[in-house]
């Protein structure tokens, strides 16, 4: 369980995290979602006692991080990929880490096996790929078998196989009853892993909601229908008070109606249909709408990209 109360971080005049309150509960994956620069990493570093809050407080299992008697047994974290001395082997990296908290040597071998680094455990970690570095970071997080886990952008830079592996691992850790807190700037990734969602933008919590609720509320669906008598159909649908837009290929996009209703209207007029389907609005769009005002650096999309870029 992670609890933040009016947690604040200021750098000079800039407020990176602005008096946020949240609770991350055990037994589920809580996604921490926000654009780059929203304050996700800063918040996670404050949870770990690495950055000092300018105000408010954050506790893990009811205690400030630095008061935990054996931190690695309570909290495991993957904060950045490859935060390892390149001249040290994966085995020795995990060994010194284990020694700090009195974790037995055999546990080092166990976690190396768990993340599949057996073959390279005694090689210098400087030559590791990003994916291998990520696996080593996860081995370090699991070393003390902690009940609380933090992953900061765990899938960044990974190949599809690595992404799937981490996703499965995160799900299984939560299924074991652990508290799992995962940050990402990708809504699509969160939709696949998280049960609960904390959306942060410009240092403020914009949404604190169940993933299912978020989807139900934000993913408004529309019906896509294509007919050789498109004009007649559009007229008929408009008469029912639904909003109609025309897609690029001439299909009609109907908002506010179900597929059944659209089909019935067409049938009652004896119109042919070549396509009738329900299209879910992307969660990515919902997330973009939610955080539109809080993105630090906007790229303008209304101007053509110069040639050669």
């Amino acid at each position: 369980m992670i609890t933040a109360e009016r947690l604040t971080k200021r750098y000079g005049d800039t407020t990176a995290v602005d008096a946020i309150d949240f609770t991350v509960r055990p037994g589920s994956v809580t996604g921490f979602l926000g654009p780059n620069g929203a304050g996700k990493s800063t918040t996670m570093r404050m949870v770990m006692g690495l950055d000092h809050p300018s105000g408010g407080r954050v506790t893990v299992n009811g205690r400030a991080y630095r008061d935990l008697p054996a931190p690695l047994h309570e909290v495991g974290a993957l904060l950045e990929a490859k935060a390892i001395h390149g001249g040290r082997s994966a085995y020795h990296h995990l060994l010194w880490l284990a020694k700090t908290n009195g974790i037995p040597r055999r546990r080092v071998d166990e976690v190396i096996g768990l993340v599949g680094l057996d073959a390279v455990a005694h090689k210098r970690s400087g030559g590791f790929s990003l994916g291998m570095g990520q696996r080593l970071g996860i081995a370090a997080a699991l070393l003390g078998d902690p009940g609380v886990l933090l992953f900061d952008e765990p899938v960044n830079g990974l190949d599809p196989e690595g992404i799937r592996w981490i996703r499965t691992l995160i799900r299984s850790l939560a299924a074991e009853g652990r508290t799992v807190f995962v940050s990402s700037h990708l809504m699509s990734e969160m939709a696949l892993t998280a049960d609960h969602l904390l959306v942060i933008g410009r240092g403020q919590i914009l949404a604190d909601t169940g993933m299912a609720d978020f989807i139900a509320r934000n993913a408004a669906a529309h019906v896509r229908v294509r007919s050789p008598q498109g004009g007649v159909l559009a007229e008929a649908l408009r008469e029912r008070g639904w909003t109609i837009r025309r897609d690029d290929d001439g299909a009609l996009l109907v908002e506010g109606a179900s597929a059944e209703q659209v089909g019935d209207v067409a049938g009652s007029r004896g119109l042919y249909l070549h396509e009738l389907s329900v299209v879910n609005a992307s969660l990515e769009e919902a997330f973009m709408r939610l955080t539109a005002d809080s993105v630090e650096y906007h790229a303008r999309t209304d101007q053509p990209v110069p040639a050669g870029v």
Partner: protein, 278 residues
């Protein structure tokens, strides 16, 4: 928290946690820091260069200068200053090792792993200091003794060697270890303050080697005292049988001053280490 559904793939180390064996203690942080320092090759290379430069250069200069020193053609240079001459260069390695103990954690981002495992920052700093000082004390004493024996071999051939039982000789051997240990800690403090390897090495070398000689240009008593008190000047007399500069502080007084300066720098570094974000 419910942990009843733990799958066997993640064997529980939590039993250890609940029986109280798993606690963060100073001894464990110390053990971890010792593991860190001995498991990177840079430590080995630094210590090898410390030994080779100190012993090799001492042997070379004594081989080259012993004849002139014996005949008096070399002027009135004190013979004892040559007996561990190579340490002047070997000490750079001790300084760099100390700096690396701090800055390598920042360049890799590993400091966050260290402080996540051991959030008590003063304990981490004391553990790092203890491990580094202990290692350099032993290696420094061996190096200093070997350098003296190598240099004295050539001095002895010209009949101007020292007796190994000379109290100044014994003091030099142990003094080499003491000086290099304190110098390493000086580097650690500097590295922790600056968090940047190249910057800290530059400042460290400039302070110890360049500024230490330049302050002599300040006129009058101020220049004399600055020369006496500069860290490298004050600390290094303990590691030579005789000093080139007779105006420097005595060996033990000088070491005391150097320890004091290093302690101040370490306290400042520790205070900032505690206060700053990792």
């Amino acid at each position: 928290m419910t942990t009843a559904t733990l799958e066997p793939a993640v064997p529980s180390a939590r039993q250890a946690a609940t029986t109280g064996q798993a606690r963060l203690t100073f001894g464990r942080i110390l053990d971890a820091e010792w593991t860190k320092i001995r498991t990177v090759r840079s430590t080995v290379w630094t210590l090898v260069s410390l030994f080779v430069a100190s012993v090799g250069l001492t042997a070379l200069i004594c081989l080259a200068a012993a004849g002139d020193l014996a005949s008096g053609a070399g002027g009135d240079e004190p013979v004892g200053a040559f007996a561990t001459w190579g340490l002047m260069f070997g000490q750079i390695a001790a300084l760099v090792l100390g700096i690396l103990v701090a800055t390598s954690e920042y360049s890799s981002g590993m400091i966050r792993t260290t402080l996540a495992a051991a959030p008590r920052r003063w304990s981490v700093l004391v553990a790092k200091t203890t491990v580094l000082a202990g290692l350099l004390l032993v290696l420094g004493t061996i190096t200093s003794a070997a350098a003296f024996l190598a240099g004295n071999f050539f001095l002895g051939r010209e009949g101007i060697g020292f007796s190994v039982t000379d109290p100044d000789v014994l003091r030099t051997m142990i003094g080499g270890g003491l000086y290099l240990a304190v110098l390493g800690v000086f580097g650690l403090a500097l590295g922790l303050l600056m968090r940047h390897t190249a910057g800290a090495v530059t400042v460290g070398i400039a302070l110890i080697f360049i500024v230490g000689n330049l302050v002599g240009l300040v006129p009058g008593a101020a220049g004399e005292w600055l020369t006496k008190l500069m860290p490298g000047n004050a600390g290094s007399t303990i590691a030579t049988v005789e000093s080139f500069n007779p105006d420097l502080l005595g060996p033990w007084t000088g070491l005391g001053v150097f320890v004091g300066e290093t302690a101040l720098l370490l306290l400042l570094a520790g205070w900032l280490f505690r206060k700053r974000d990792a």
